[in-house]
């Protein structure tokens, strides 16, 4: 099948889906409150945007997302490098990791609220924990997998210190593996955003809970689709950055 035909078919499929979705509640076959039609979502989006609520919710969610991601990924890369380069550190932490790692990120919610209150810091904490483990293991594996032959090149040309080895060889060689971890973490972090905010930290998740308690299902859908769009956008930008950063690969 040609590329054009595939695109046309995909567009047609989406239109049929939206058409059926629009028709069922409008024809009275489904309750409009339980299943709001797409046109109602557009109207709800317009209302949310003009009242300024949408922008505020998105901005605070994005700030939780960005800070949580930065903290979790930063610590994950740092400790992942350490565990990847030092057998002693890896051994010393092996059992701690084995106990703490299987705890689901959302199981930390009670402590997040006890420690930080229903505050942005609690959301950041939940997001950072989920991101941390993904990035930590990706980094550790990537560092461990660095071709020893390349490390030898650095030694042969005079780079003897561990720091020089890290900067000149280990980090650039491990970048592809670390990027894979980061990309997984980008998706994981959105889940954590919703979960953390559902408990009341201001943002998209909290707005969804408010709307659902008022049975404003059209607004709930506005924010569901908003998150899908934001994730899609962020992932696209990340992949573009990744391709540029890794343009040295065949």
């Amino acid at each position: 099948m040609s590329r054009l035909a595939r695109t046309a078919l995909a567009a047609a499929g989406l239109l049929v889906f939206l058409g059926i979705w629009e028709a069922l509640p409008r024809l009275g076959l489904l309750n409009q409150v339980l299943v709001p039609p797409p046109s109602a979502i557009l109207a709800a989006l317009a209302r949310e945007v003009t009242s300024g609520v949408w922008l505020q919710a998105v901005a605070s969610s994005l700030s939780h997302y960005a800070i949580g991601l930065a903290v979790g990924a930063g610590l994950g890369v740092l400790l992942g490098i350490w565990a990847g380069m030092s057998v002693a550190f890896e051994s010393a932490t092996a059992w701690i990791v084995r106990i703490v790692r299987p705890i689901p990120g959302l199981a930390w919610v009670p402590f997040a609220i006890i420690w930080f209150g229903v505050q942005p810091a609690a959301a950041v904490f939940i997001i950072a924990i989920g991101v941390f483990w993904i990035v930590f293991f990706a980094t550790q594996g990537a560092i461990r997998g660095v071709d020893r032959d390349l490390v030898e090149v650095a030694r042969a040309f005079g780079f003897r210190s561990a720091f020089a080895r890290l900067v000149k060889i280990m980090l650039p060689a491990a970048t592809p593996g670390i990027m894979v971890g980061l990309r997984t973490a980008l998706g994981q972090a959105w889940m954590a955003v919703v979960a953390a905010e559902i408990f009341g930290v201001p943002g998209v998740g909290q707005r969804m809970m408010q709307a659902s308690s008022l049975l404003a299902t059209d607004i709930v859908l506005v924010y569901m689709l908003t998150m899908a769009a934001l994730y899609g956008l962020i992932d696209t930008v990340f992949v573009a950055a990744q391709n540029w950063l890794l343009r040295w690969r065949a």
Partner: protein
């Protein structure tokens, strides 16, 4: 440059190396003596696994000898002027850093040294021109052929202007056509730069075609066995009967030694 042409640029005395594994000691090199004069091209031949590469690894500092000494510029007491490493190694596989462009692979060895940031690319370009790849400075390593990669690796080693250029079977992974053209290229570069070269190979014909002197590394643990000087002036003919005779003697030497084991 210090020292007269007659003095060795490097003197290896009583060199020994043993691997320790599971409480067992396996000697690899023992009582190895070798002196190389400035500007000389010495080839080391020997069976695979005899310790040829290990010797180069000791010289470049990747392996620690358990006995003996390696002296650079013996007899001179010139203090080190720069931090430039006195030796550079061309590996069997080019081992370019894939995330660096060709130019920056060549500057790599200069980054540790005292060479200024502005001077590095200039020197790297000059070396790339010398190996005939000046045009490809902006390429990534994966865009090069095997022969081109090995040329870049040679340029990287030459850029540090080593007292001794170490080469570890640098052409053995290439097809025979590329190999012969790189051999001739190496001879041309050597004539242009008068570098001292220590060249490890298992290819006896390659050794006698390139070198002023061929030494046999043999025994377990290995030391220097026979050695043959080749007086034929460069450029040489590959089918030169004198070279063929030298190769025959070296083969004989190698087969006798291995029969004794």
């Amino acid at each position: 440059m210090s020292g007269s042409p007659d003095l060795p640029v490097i003197e290896i005395r009583g060199l020994g190396l043993a691997y320790e594994r599971d409480g067992r000691t396996t000697p690899v090199l023992s009582g190895l003596d070798l002196a190389i004069r400035r500007g000389e091209f010495v080839a080391i031949v020997g069976e695979s696994g005899v310790g040829k590469s290990t010797l180069l690894r000791v010289l470049i500092g990747l392996a620690r000898p358990s006995a003996g000494s390696v002296t650079l510029n013996p007899g001179t007491r010139a203090p080190a002027q720069t931090r430039l490493p006195p030796m550079a190694l061309v590996f069997q596989d080019s081992r370019l850093l894939p995330w660096r462009r060709v130019l920056s692979n060549v500057t790599f060895g200069l980054e540790w040294s005292g060479v200024s940031r502005a001077e590095r690319p200039r020197r790297a370009i000059a070396m790339l021109d010398l190996v005939g790849l000046g045009e490809l400075a902006r390429r990534w390593p994966h865009q090069l052929s095997g022969g081109q990669r090995q040329r870049v690796s040679l340029a990287r080693a030459l850029a540090v202007e080593p007292d001794v250029l170490l080469m570890d079977e640098p052409f053995s992974a290439l097809d025979s056509f590329t190999r012969e053209s790189l051999q001739d290229e190496l001879l041309r570069i050597r004539a242009a730069t008068s570098r001292t070269i220590l060249f490890v190979t298992h290819d006896i014909d390659e050794a006698v075609y390139l070198a002023d002197r061929v030494v046999v590394l043999t025994g377990r643990p290995a030391g220097i066995g026979a050695e043959i000087s080749l007086d034929a002036p460069q450029p040489r003919r590959r089918r030169d009967p004198a070279l063929a005779e030298a190769a025959r003697q070296l083969r004989l030497e190698l087969s006798q030694r291995s029969a004794e084991l």
